[in-house]
Amino acid sequence: MPPGLHVNSDKPKDEFIIPLKLTWSDGLLVTKTVTYPKAEEIKVGSQDLTVFTGNFTIETQFEVPAKAASGSGTVTGKLRYQACNNQMCFRPVTADVHIPVVIE
């Protein structure tokens, strides 16, 4: 994240806040777990927020179906996020994610 900006964490404290969410399309691989990093706690005005800033990593563990064919392919997913700074917020975004994989 650029300096000064944050995205909401995957577990916001307020029900109205839009969480960070990474989802994968099942097909080539089966998603087992998606693990988010530990969030920072910040305060914007009177609001207590849990956020991610700077560089951070979301880790996904996949499983290869038994009948999967060997070869290369692409795992696709969607990353939904909503970013703010201390003065303003930007519209939520759902971005497409593509990761090339090789099954051996």
């Binding site: 994240m1 650029p2 109205f16 990474l22 880790e59 909503q82 703010c84 003065q87």
Partner: protein, 199 residues
């Protein structure tokens, strides 16, 4: 079944490409100067529905000073301004002032109505859409607030969180402003004209 621990190292610095591809504004709040009367453009008219389902047209507010606030339930800085707007609505309504909030929540009334109830919002909330934001030049960041004078013209615009006193001063100024003369000359007191001239 093979277990493959595919470590998808999702470094968000890389995902910044995705983030940066969307339009950003810098972290600084854009502080607007009050436009001279002759420089004010008409606020584009629109019709949106309020929480009761009634259609509301902006032009119906002609004759009043309007604080038109684009916001969303998920916007922290927006939430900070709401108590101020509630106070303004109460304090200035009798003088011909109203706050109109336009929610940009994609989830619609199911998200907005509980928020209105929880925050006890005392001013009218409309459900916005991209067509309306395009009329206003595109609203990339929230809150974005337009100060509209009694003649339906945009006197100020604030992108991002603004100060309470700044809003109050502008509301007071617009409520106090005299109507322009038929010649189009500003008929404000001389002191006000001098202030306007230096901007």
């Amino acid at each position: 079944m093979h277990q493959v621990k595919l470590l998808a190292l999702f470094v968000i610095a890389g995902a910044l490409v995705l983030l940066i591809s969307h339009p950003w504004r810098g972290p600084e709040t854009t502080r607007a100067n009050t436009k001279a009367v002759g420089d004010r453009k008409p606020a584009p008219n629109f019709t949106l529905k309020d929480a009761s389902g009634a259609s509301v047209e902006l032009s119906s507010y002609r004759g009043k000073v309007v604080l038109l606030n684009f916001w969303a339930t998920w916007c922290g800085p927006c939430e900070m301004e709401i108590p101020w707007f509630e106070q303004f609505e109460q304090q200035y309504k009798s003088r011909g002032f109203e706050v109109v909030g336009v929610s940009m929540d994609d989830d619609g009334w199911p998200a907005v109505k509980p928020f209105i109830a929880a925050k006890k919002i005392n001013y009218r909330i409309l459900l916005g859409n991209d067509s309306v934001t395009q009329l206003y030049g595109g609203v990339d960041a929230l809150p974005t607030t337009f100060m509209i004078d009694r003649e339906g013209r945009i006197a100020d615009v604030h992108v991002g969180l603004a100060g309470r006193d700044e809003y109050a001063n502008e509301i007071q100024s617009l409520l106090d402003n005299h109507e322009t003369t038929n010649s189009g000359r500003d008929s404000r007191p001389v002191a006000g004209l001098l202030v306007g001239a230096t901007k």
